[in-house]
């Protein structure tokens, strides 16, 4: 799973969000490192909708601007949980190896 996809799914854990709210949430989640372009965001949402990981959950018009809300589905939440477990396991292994490396360095 690519990082933007991971971050979009994670942002939707907080509840349904529209386009700009998702951009801001992704930026916050990545500590300002990932600044998604709008075209990339909707490309990702297109793919995630087709695979059933997110779904549209309503539209509204605010100040003449159309907003569409997206929600995380159960399938999307499961995929995110699996990816999180994979990333955590990998990070744990790397941390253990780093600790060993430091110990070896100290000797």
């Amino acid at each position: 799973m690519r990082e933007p996809t991971f971050l979009v799914l994670a942002a939707l854990l907080e509840g349904p969000k529209h386009g700009y709210a998702l951009l801001s949430a992704v930026n916050d989640l990545s500590d300002g490192r990932v600044n998604l372009q709008v075209g990339t965001l909707y490309g990702a949402l297109d793919r995630l909708s087709r695979s059933g990981w997110v779904m549209e959950s309503g539209t509204e018009i605010v100040d003449g601007r159309h907003r569409r809300y997206f929600t995380l589905t159960d399938t999307g939440a499961r995929a995110l949980a699996e990816e999180t477990a994979r990333v955590t396991a990998r990070a744990n292994k790397a941390a253990a190896l780093l600790a060993q490396h430091r110990k070896g360095f100290a000797l």
Binding site: H18, Q37, G39, T40, Y42, G43, D46, H66
Partner: protein, 303 residues
């Protein structure tokens, strides 16, 4: 509608009409929300280019209803076949340079090469070796670069009146193969690249040996009469592979055949065009109808 909104809507025109009907207003709303929060009255840096790239990607992934496996196999096959076309064409074309120079020492060339198309060949071969070495991103970038390079090489060769001008049909074939490569992800297994490359090179060299001389007709696909065999053979091979239930490979073979068949239709004349058109139609019917007929998985999601 302000100037910024007009700019955004112009960029979104490149998306497929169906996509625009359901998404344009929402995407413009998000773009304007972002501009307002960032206090901008012009697009963010790279924003328009990003919309254009996503529009092209949206079209590429929507046109053929191919599974990801079929697209990736087509990308692998197209990369190897494109490199074989580049190698054999370069060999044939450059072999004629000496004869041309002997005939007319003042003829315009690009240094020791007949035309700037040598850059296109170099990029294809570079992509092939990068793919074998496992640098798949570099391979795709190199193939993507062949598209503008192909157009530029012809324009430069035209302007300078160079001998080795590639025909537009030949360039269109290379561009079609390049689009197949960039619309998928070439595989990781180098034996697949090498075997396809060797097989395609052998076929192309044998075809070249039977057709016009390099001096008179350096671009082999402009010689009518033989090219129909290529799609016919690959269609037969695809049918054989399909019978063995390797659907992604069969579909990929058919898709990669289409640019060659189209070139044959363009160059083969009216009488041959009908038979080639039949082959093209058969290929298209199989490629487009097979997913529904056989219940193939249509998802294009990259996971």
């Amino acid at each position: 509608m302000n100037a910024l909104e007009q700019q955004y809507r112009r960029a979104l025109r490149l998306y497929p009409a169906e996509w625009r009907r359901s998404n344009e207003d929402v995407v413009v709303g998000t773009l304007l929300d972002a501009a307002e929060h960032e206090d901008r009255s012009i697009p963010r840096r790279g924003e328009i280019a990003n919309l254009v790239l996503n529009a092209v990607n949206s079209r590429l992934t929507r046109v053929p209803s191919l599974s990801r496996a079929a697209r990736d196999t087509a990308a692998t096959t197209a990369l190897a076949v494109g490199a074989a076309v580049a190698l054999t064409s370069a060999m044939q074309l450059e072999a004629g340079t000496g004869a041309v120079r002997a005939f007319d020492p003042d003829i315009a060339t690009l240094g020791p090469f007949t035309s700037p198309t040598v850059v296109v060949y170099g990029l294809w071969l570079g992509a092939f070796f990068a793919a074998i070495a496992g640098f798949r991103g570099t391979a795709r970038a190199s193939v993507a670069a062949t598209i503008p390079a192909a157009v530029a090489s012809r324009l430069i060769a035209d302007a300078e009146g160079m001998f080795g001008r590639p025909t537009w049909t030949f360039l269109a074939l290379l561009i079609a193969l390049a689009l197949l490569v960039v619309s998928g992800s070439p595989g990781r297994r180098w034996p697949a690249f090498v075997s396809t490359f060797l097989a395609a090179t052998a076929v192309l060299l044998s075809v070249n040996a039977q057709t016009a001389s390099a001096f008179q007709n350096p671009f082999w696909m402009d010689a009518p009469g033989f090219l129909g065999w290529f799609p016919a053979l690959t269609l037969a091979a695809a049918a054989g592979v399909f019978a063995r239930r390797q659907r992604a490979l069969a579909t990929a073979a058919l898709v990669v055949t289409l640019p060659f068949t189209a070139a044959a239709v363009v160059n083969g004349g009216i009488s041959q065009a009908a038979s080639y058109a039949l082959l093209v139609a058969l290929g298209l019917v199989v490629v487009c109808a097979a997913p529904r007929l056989f219940g193939w998985r249509l998802t294009l999601e990259r996971r």
